[in-house]
């Protein structure tokens, strides 16, 4: 998959060298940050055999509440509230799916729609502009020339890699996704694992919402709309299996990279937005087919 990313990047760069200018590359990174956080959260959930469609709405919920609270309660408290909303929705997703014994697809589809409704209700459908001066620091500031938001993503990615590859919990995840019954019988608390995953996904989505709001300097009720599909696609492009039991952080980040490169690159090349949509769709499918064909020496995740 890395190969695909490099080839895509190289071909776009050769068509228009603006692509690899520092400005553009930083731009690109900025654009994929939110996607990356959603995708990492999605990775936990997908590896264990579930799916989370609601993270897009969590972005909106957390972004708008962050913007709304920042003026009068300060950035820190606003941040805590926003993150709590994400965690809360995540726990809700997990509890309903596990104890209601319904497919996670359905639960998270429900929360996706309901939360979006809540956000529209609470904001009356309009964006929230009243934000303090330092609001945009998180989303636009840099540290050592790399955007702070990118650092945040890197930290989250490293943590995810560590958990999945090095900790017993990670093993449990792959087991639950590979054979839930076997995991149960091996003494793993499948319920606890699944609920934890949804919570993590909710937290990361909320983090994404905060960064998104911070970057655009406001909170709009439609922020993050449809991002969930891109996040899922990134995980699958990166080697994840929607049935569970497969997937990894590096692959997922490459998947995010591919999606970002396509969107950004096509923009640079002046391709119309409509053609972009077509291209994204085609490339996603092609990337996964290519990936499956070349995974001859299949390595197990653990």
């Amino acid at each position: 998959m890395l190969f695909v990313l490099v080839v895509l990047g190289a071909s776009i760069a050769s068509a228009n060298s603006v692509f690899i200018s520092t400005t553009n590359l930083t731009n690109l990174l900025d654009q994929v940050v939110v996607y990356a956080l959603l995708a990492i959260g999605e990775l936990y959930v997908i590896v264990a055999g579930d799916i989370d469609l609601s993270n897009a709405s969590v972005v909106a919920a957390s972004g708008t509440s962050y913007a709304a609270m920042a003026e009068h309660h300060g950035l820190v408290l606003a941040g805590v509230v926003a993150l709590s909303i994400g965690i809360g929705i995540g726990v809700l997703n997990g509890v309903i799916t596990v104890y209601g014994r319904i497919p996670s697809f359905i639960t998270t589809l429900g929360t996706l729609t309901a939360v979006e409704g809540f956000v529209l209700l609470a904001t009356n459908g309009s964006p929230i502009y009243n934000v303090p001066g330092n609001f945009v620091h998180l989303g636009t500031g840099k540290w050592l020339t790399i955007p702070i938001s990118v650092w945040i993503v890197l930290v989250c990615a490293v943590i995810a890699w560590y958990v999945l590859a090095q900790r017993p919990f990670g093993r449990h995840l792959y087991a639950v996704g590979g054979n839930r019954m076997a995991a149960e019988v091996s003494g793993i608390s499948v319920a606890r694992v699944r609920i934890t995953n949804f919570t993590i996904a909710g937290f990361l989505a909320a983090l994404g919402g905060i960064i998104f709001a911070s970057r655009i300097g406001s909170g709009t009720p439609t922020m993050g709309a449809n991002y969930e599909l891109g996040a899922i696609a990134a995980v699958v492009i990166g080697g994840g299996d929607l049935m569970g039991g497969q997937g990894g952080v590096t692959g997922t980040l490459i998947g995010v990279g591919i999606l970002g490169v396509i969107a950004n690159g096509l923009n640079i090349l002046g391709v119309s937005a409509f053609w972009q949509e077509i291209a994204v769709g085609v490339i996603i499918v092609a990337a996964v087919i290519l990936g499956r064909m070349t995974s001859g020496g299949e390595r197990p995740p653990v």
């Binding site: 017993p168 093993r171 087991a175 076997a182 091996s186 003494g187 390595r299 197990p300």
Partner: protein, 523 residues
């Protein structure tokens, strides 16, 4: 049936060879079918019957040999569809009927009669359905949905469907296992009618009584070899059985050292266990260190008894006592909690995560033990897992192989599974067809491991249709047939012939020499 009729053969399979990895499933097997013949195909499990049939129907491709259907050569890798077009149809237990559709519509599937305007001609479809059933002499309510019919009737509809689609060769696999005597008789009448029309029928079954009733030719396979083909009337039941079991010899055998005594109390006591449609009134006990085998063909209920012990079967009446106290086995978690371990032929069902490496699977139940400051110490894990694996004769490089378990051979998968369960020090080991699809070498290893586990005073229950396995591994054998325990064998009587005789119910007194009063004891 002479050589000069060669060109009239409906099916001529010659020199068929097929290997699966290291296992040679078929070694130069011949099968010749003449028109109108009812040809029985016999053999123990693993003898190669289903492999041969699957090669004929195109589901599997042969490695060597020739096949001709009605004189037409079939090339090496045919598609099942092309074989079906020649009129070769197999009817298995799972009929390819659509339950929600009516009989008429099922028969019409793919062969829809059309009216002039191109629309479906319901009248013609109904008329055709009536004709077909009249021809074979059965009455079926053709307008009812298939799902509302009894199993026996569904089977007849499946056969009728094959006829409508141009049946020229019929293959039936264990067709009477779900039928009562009356329904079986009706099926036989249909078979005779088809045969009278020149359609050859291949009849694969364990039921000797069926074979003597309906077939005129018998082919016996054993261990992938073609043993004999003769007219049915030339054979007695005992001769058939001895052809099937042959002289005892299947490579490496395990030595059985005594591992149990009756001085202690029984570890497992099963009393009047019954499950609807599976088995009735099962009562037996198992002592610590004893390996009790439940021998039976696939539909005998033996496997179901094993599944029940692991909480996998519902609506079971009767009681189970373990280590002195009654135990409820309604869910697998209860069995696991009691310390039971369960190994079946279906590795996924038995608890193998096929996406994970062997090491990850073996350590799954206790991976926290290898964690230092939250992080899994890979070196510790390796050592620990290798140690466990050595008990199941799984080589270290196999254990450490970074491949998903689904890529392992059946034998190695079973060993990984055994290793995983072993770590938990099981108090009762339940096995169901554990060496199905496992090569000879791994098989012997697994049998040795079972004996080793027994030597640790663990009671073991082994349900299997593989008679050699039962003979090799068990201290005591219960034979099941049609859901009931029909015999108990110990000591000298644990041998292939005695077990098979009980399994197949070939106990016709006029066929057995009882002059010396010994009855059916050791042969």
């Amino acid at each position: 049936m002479s050589e000069s009729q060669g060109s009239a053969e409906a099916v001529a399979m010659r020199g068929i060879c097929k290997a699966f990895g290291d296992t040679q499933a078929l070694r130069s097997v011949d099968l010749l079918l003449l028109p109108g013949e009812v040809h029985a195909l016999l053999g123990e499990n693993g003898a190669g019957k289903s492999t041969l049939i699957k090669i004929l129907t195109g589901i599997l491709h042969r490695d060597a040999g020739t096949i001709a259907v009605f004189g037409q050569e079939i090339h090496r890798s045919p598609s099942p569809a092309s074989i079906r077009r020649l009129g070769v149809r197999a009817c298995y237990q799972e009929f390819d009927l659509v339950p929600g559709m009516s009989v008429i519509d099922n028969l019409a599937l793919g062969e829809e009669p059309r009216s002039r305007s191109g629309a479906l001609d319901h009248g013609a479809a109904a008329a055709r359905a009536e004709r077909v059933f009249e021809d074979i002499g059965v009455e079926i309510p053709i307008r009812k949905a298939v799902s509302s019919l009894a199993v026996a009737e569904r089977q007849l509809v499946a056969i009728a469907r094959a006829i409508v689609a141009g049946l020229r060769i019929l293959i039936l696999d264990e067709p009477t296992s779900a039928l009562n005597a009356g329904e079986a008789a009706r099926l036989f009448d249909v078979i005779r009618k088809l045969a009278a029309r020149g359609i050859p029928v291949v009849y694969v079954s364990h039921r000797l009584e069926d074979i003597f009733e309906i077939s005129n030719m018998v082919t016996v396979l054993r261990d992938g070899l073609h043993v004999s083909t003769q007219p049915t009337e030339n054979l007695t039941r005992l001769e058939l059985i001895s052809l099937m079991t042959g002289t005892d010899s299947t490579g490496r055998r395990v030595t059985k050292t005594a591992t149990h005594s009756r001085n202690t109390k029984a570890a497992l006591i099963i009393d009047h266990l019954s499950a609807p449609d599976a088995f009735t009134d099962i009562t037996f006990s198992v002592w610590p260190g004893e390996v009790v085998g439940i021998a039976g063909s696939l539909d005998s209920g033996a496997i179901d008894v094993a599944s029940t012990l692991f909480g996998r079967k519902r609506h079971v009446t009767g009681s189970v006592c373990f280590e002195g106290s009654p135990i409820s086995l309604k869910r697998p978690e209860q069995a696991v909690g009691a310390g039971f371990a369960f190994v079946t032929e279906d590795r996924k069902e038995s608890g193998l995560c096929l996406n994970l490496s062997p090491k990850a699977n073996i350590s799954l139940t206790h991976v926290e033990k290898y964690a230092r400051w939250g992080r899994i110490d890979k070196g510790l894990e390796r050592k620990g897992v290798e140690e466990i694996a050595s008990h199941v004769r799984l080589a270290p490089d196999m254990v450490n192989a970074q491949i998903p378990c689904r890529q392992l051979s059946g034998g190695n998968q079973q060993k990984v599974l055994l290793a995983k369960w072993l770590y938990r020090d099981p108090k009762l080991l339940i096995l169901a067809e554990p060496t199905r699809g496992v090569d000879v070498g791994a098989r012997a290893d697994i049998h040795a491991v079972i004996r080793e586990i027994a030597s640790r005073s663990v009671p073991v229950v082994l349900a299997s249709s593989d008679i050699n396995e039962i003979v090799d591994v068990c201290d005591r054998v219960l034979v099941m047939r049609r859901g009931e325990i029909v015999d108990e064998l110990t000591g000298q009587r644990i041998n292939g012939s005695a077990i098979l005789t009980s399994m197949l119910g070939a106990a016709d007194t006029d066929q057995v020499d009882t002059a010396d009063g010994k009855g059916r004891s050791d042969n």
